[in-house]
């Protein structure tokens, strides 16, 4: 994976983005949300921010083993 497609800005180099975290399983305890991070080989749900672009937060679904990005959704209706 060397690029992400920001729904606002289009395909951009990965270095414009910052990885934040993999999303916890729904209904996790506060402890699990922080310490029991999900690490799925083929379907990982993650939060990224387009820090050096529109600064929008993205929900990224990707396959870490192949590097394929399956889905990119802008969160919160995007940067204001």
């Amino acid at each position: 994976m060397t690029r992400l497609t920001c729904p606002f800005c289009g395909p951009r180099e990965l270095r414009e983005f910052e990885f934040h975290k993999t999303l916890p399983e729904p209904g996790s305890t506060p402890y699990a949300r922080v310490y029991e991070r999900v690490n799925r080989l083929d379907d990982s749900l993650e939060h990224w921010q387009h820090v050096q672009g529109c600064r929008g937060w993205l929900l990224v679904r990707r396959n870490p083993s192949s590097g394929a990005v399956l889905e990119t959704v802008i969160l919160g209706g995007g940067a204001q």
Binding site: G76, G77, Q80
Partner: protein, 978 residues
Amino acid sequence: MNGTQRRGTRLTDTSLRFTFDGREYCGQVGDTAASALLASGVRAMGRSVKYRRLRGVLAAGPEEPNALFTVGTSPAVIPNVYAPQLELRDGMVLKSQNRWPSLKYDVASLLQVGSGFFGAGFYYKTFIWPSWHRWEATIRALAGLGEAPGTCELPPPAVEHFSCDVLVAGAGAAGLAAARAAARAGARVVLCEREPVCGGELEFEFATIEGRPALAWVDATLVELASLGVRVLTDTTLVGGTGGEYVAHHEPGGVPGANSVYKIRPVAFVIAMGAVERPIAFINNDLPGVMLLGAAERFLARYGVMVGSNLVLFANHDRVYAAATRLASAGMRVCAVVDIRDSGALGAEATAQRATLAQGGTECLLGYAVISAAGGSHVRRAIVAPLASPSATRVIACDVVLVSGGWGPSAHAGLQEGGTTRYEEGLAAFVAMDQPEGRENAGAANGLLELPRVLIDGAGAGTRGARRAGADGDPGATPIASGDPAPRLVPFWRSPADRAGEKRQFIDYQNDVNVADLRATLEEGFVDIEHVKRYTALGFGTDQGRIGGLLGAAILAELRGEPLKDVGTSRLRPPYHSVTMSSLAGLRVGARLRPMRRTPLHDWHLANGGVLEPMDLWMRTRYYRQNGPAVFEAGIAEAQRVRTSGGIVDGSTLGKIEVAGPNAAVFLDSLYLNKASTIKVGRSKYMVNLREDGMVLDDGIVLRLADDRFIATTSSGHGGHMLSHFEHYRDTEWSGRGVTVTDVTESWGVIVVAGPQSRTVLHSVLGAAWQPVLDTLTHMAFARGAFGGQDLTVLRASFSGELAFELHCRPSITVALWEALIAAGFKPYGLEALDILRVEKGYLVSSELNGETTPFDLCMDGLVKLGNPCVGRDLLDRPAFHESDRPRLVGVRALDGKAIFYGGAQLTTAEQPNRPCGYVTSSVYSPTLGEWVGLALVSRKQPEGAVLDCRDPVRIGDCRVRLTSMVHYDPTGERMKS
């Protein structure tokens, strides 16, 4: 050979001079270091890294394991330059490597005499008493490749990103056919070639293509490619790729340090990087004068170099007879062709060539092997024997042994990204398969060695690539050709040898791995190829196993008694080729790596004695030169002035985030440990927020501008991170709930006016209109108005313990306001003084907000007790946060009131002198109190008043300290509230 002009495809008639190990040599423009030295009769070009054996040039490309030179004069040197790739320039200074004091006499090599060779793991096993560290420095001095450059003068490369339809790597027969077919079909094609010229093996193969001699076809094809708009990048090596982006380095002249870096995104990728010839292991197969057969042919064709005068050729395939014919016709005497196969294995063409060679006086031995090479510093004899009775040896006088054990397809570029290999019986090599869609190997890189098939494969791959990219034109006819015959190769990896001889049967020339090492490694239980690689270093180094990788795997298979296809080879990784750090860094160096943020007062500080230092991306003033000879004295003078009269400091670097909307207050409540919703309009509050895991993230003052509008200030170093933090919660939990987050950091310059006279000075600077406001403003209240026609907010807040005001003003008036304050008698102070003032008052500085401290540790229990449910609060109940010996913030002072102690010093008790119970986080010399004061994180078991040992053996020595209240100065806060 000096004096006679050589003719080769790359050579011009202009001569040049260069030095090698201090001696001057001649070459011709177009020569490489290796070709010119070979032409001058130089055989030894380096010593091996471990055994320090003399080595010559083995290969004619970047797979060369030993002829690596250091270019230039110390300290501006470039080490590990491939001699066969380095294009000479007049006056070039070259040095051989891994030898001391000279190539001919090397001290370390003498250590080998009598002691035998160091086997695999020798260093680990031998130098264990009293410890490895006792020996490390000596061993390291002898280890490594080349001399590290003393200066780093490589300019940053140009970095170019582009996309294309079809990327073809390698401009040999397959690559040219692929590029031509794709371009004719209408695709946008990029062709990159590692060598300065295109054609690959067509340079010397007996070949005709489409009715023309091979080289004429190459030239015609390049003309056609240019007319079709194909971008041909020579001297450009594809070093790796991932995620559909491939990186190629343009290194003209073979000098490391890319002058351009290309990042290419093709729709389809054709890997036509050819195949690398491999040697056969025989005794002393590393003696200078032993060379790969294809290398000798390249040196002849391209540079007109005759690598020797009496040659012995040693191979296991038909191609050796064609090569022998070419070398003989160039004037070299081919003494013998040693073929391990019997006569039945030869094809018709090879049989005919063999007969002609025999007529010309060449001894053609079938069923024979070269058992060893002999001679002192270079080859003088080859000892050969029939494989049926290896002890029946014969000696053939010669000065060069050319060896060819077959070819390994260059699958690196593809396999780095995954995919698998299959073992190709006819080739005795692994070929890439299961490549991802859009990527395929072609030609020799796909395991094909006969020219007609290579061209068909290349053209097919090019056409498929173009189709994939949507180009549906006519790719034209596949070129019809004839060339060297099929190799009819019979796998053969090593000549017979006894156990002693196996120590001199080299597999990996760069890391000195021999057959005996593999045997020992297996005996010690390292069986898997990946383990063997790491134990012996087989496949390490700049050649990355291109010479010895497959050979080692095959011999390992033999020793394990298993088929090679089950043993496999070790995994290939980028880069394909050694790369310099400057090429990897690209343009991301200096200011392009870290842009600088400047406050509105940046230039003023520089012009007025400010000594600036980075804080995050900002530059902040540590102290002003006019206030003392160095930071310590200046800081004290500046701090003292604030306490007695006052001073101003540039606070523009504070992060400022404007949060607005109907839910702004509750949004902030959810992010901070204490509540924003209880702040009255026109007032502010010191607030603290936590990370998700409960650790303190940052602190700052939050101002309420209106019911639905706040400005949250953050630490200078945390501004960017805090903004992301706010934006994250805005876009996730608070999405669609009426909250906006805007970074206004650079919309406001901040001047902090601190000191007992600050109100008086502000009266005179801000004028009469502000006077009643300033007189009535209570602690933590602010007022908004104007100065010079521009917005100004005056906040009464203090981080110095003195009466203080923060002036938030527009950047356009910041300098004017600052200069007015100076004209009114206040002088600026820097961070050093700021730290002194803060620590005296027990305010947190950055070393306490270190990501490992909870609000309890920082004595913020009161804020937690407010019970505000916020981010991170859930985890504050974890038992570890409440253990009785968890560190907690406390003040610290020297017991005798005189000793100096620094942040980082460890604190111990008399009972447990070797187990710290805490450490000093910050310390300053307090000019007001006349002694050193500090803050420390110390076990809760140690009460205030406890006396501890403060240990700092390296910097300043130990002293005794007493734990005190955190607030060293004005504990009741009278001065601040005055």
